[in-house]
Assembly symmetry: C2
């Protein structure tokens, strides 16, 4: 990797096509600059994009990016595919991504692909940092009402947002546009509470693990890989909670796929895009 | 009641203070007009408002409404209080409101009040039409993925929004601002599926009933009314589903308050505001 560039959000369904295209253009320009090279059209660009497994969104993004002259051939693939390619050179197995959002995505020896989850923060994203943060907020106010089990989360969340009482959580949550990223950023607070032994926080991580395992199991069964030593790569910030999320996930997943090889993704997803581009070029 | 007037949303936390004040002003003007009378300041106005049990919001709303000259004395109370006053002249008992949002609110013989729920669509609103609609959407896409139990809801929700496939639910849900009211409007679709015997839809109504019962139980216990024949009034559109929601709610509630007198609110909440204003004036 010669250069890296970063820019704002580029998820088409979250920010719209034109904002996504602008962000990708900025990131590519920044990468050329970081490499100390003059920007020019590359031979081939492999782009891991949310929505890259939906033909319409893939084609719309490719068409909208074409005028930017990023590469002679622009290749949009699912973001989960580059993560899987980073985990396995043969691009066979399953990747569970749990960051702000969540999805399980897989590919078998026959080249069939399958996903579960990936529906976004309103319809899905079970087991994501957003889901953990939202569940924590809801558990905190239930405890405050006396409807739910008492939990240290109530005070921790109030303190995290520098508020004076649980009622003030409303001001952050309803104060402007839906605070999706601020809610996802609560996951480390839940992790801390769980490590301090808070039963509600521990349950939230166990539930997230169950949801992620369920999505992966659905993919594994859909691809007929239950009996195989299928590689399962874990990618995304939620897995920074370590054994808190990974141990219950392994327990749940092994019940369906006893030989699954479950491990955190070692290489960054971007390396998967590099592998894919190199394979494609030499093919 | 001499005249009625309606206008847009007036929930301060949903639409902001100035939009709420404008809507209330319009509704009052329309009520005078419907009565065939010339608008003039009333002696007393009783206003049931969401947030009316939070002193800051109550005072802010009263201050912002003052310049409109609606009444010599403007009296903002919790929206749940007017519903309870419509159910009981003594204003003693509990009201469970389950419309777009949800709350349980009560008042005992000593005048103590207590609420559970009422945290809005992000933090709470368990058992509301919004909660039922959102849970239905999530169940539909889980079934479509193969992660969840198959349900007629998948096809019914796609048809309700005149889409061609479950993937297109994304376009409605993420197409613009958060479609809170469109999601709440899905509850009657879930009701239809439940009546046709769909197990997932029936479970969603049973879960909503459990959540509403839990909120009411918390209020009843908090007010020390478990042993009394406490009146519990059911108010809001969710209860249009009849025995589908009311039977499991009664079962769950009676386990804590065996003598509770549970019934749908017969008079509209507005009549409660009239009762309260009349009592206040003669006091």
């Amino acid at each position: 990797i010669l250069g890296r560039g970063e820019a704002g959000a580029a998820n088409v369904s979250a920010v719209g096509l034109s904002a996504a295209v602008a962000a990708i253009g900025q990131a590519v320009a920044a990468a050329w600059q970081a490499a100390g090279l003059t920007a020019r059209p590359a031979t081939l660009a492999c782009l891991g994009a949310a929505g890259g497994d939906r033909p319409q969104e893939k084609e719309a993004l490719e068409a909208a990016l074409a005028p930017l002259g990023i590469a002679a051939r622009l290749w949009v693939v699912p973001d989960a595919l580059i993560a899987l390619a980073a985990a396995s050179r043969e691009v066979i197995g399953v990747v569970i991504i749990a960051g702000t959002g969540s999805i399980a995505w897989g590919r078998n020896r026959q080249g069939d692909t399958r996903r579960a989850g990936g529906w976004g923060y309103i319809l899905g994203d079970e087991g994501s940092a957003f889901d953990i943060g939202l569940s924590a907020l809801r558990a905190a106010v239930r405890a405050h009402d006396g409807r739910g089990q008492p939990t240290a989360l109530t005070d921790l969340l109030v303190a995290h947002w520098a508020l004076s009482q649980p009622e003030d959580l409303r001001s952050v949550v309803y104060g402007g546009s839906y605070p999706r990223l601020q809610i996802a950023a609560l996951a480390p607070v839940v992790e801390r509470a769980a490590r301090q032994g808070d039963a509600v926080a521990r349950r939230l991580y166990a539930q997230a693990a169950d949801e992620l395992a369920l999505a992966a199991k659905t993919v594994i069964v859909g691809l007929g890989m239950q009996a195989e030593a299928v590689p399962v790569a874990l990618s995304g910030g939620v897995f920074q909670a370590g054994e808190l999320i990974i141990e219950p996930l392994i327990r749940s997943l092994r019940a369906v796929a006893p030989h699954a090889q479950i491990a955190r993704l070692e290489q960054e997803p971007a390396m998967g895009a590099v592998h894919l581009a190199a394979q494609e070029r030499s093919a």
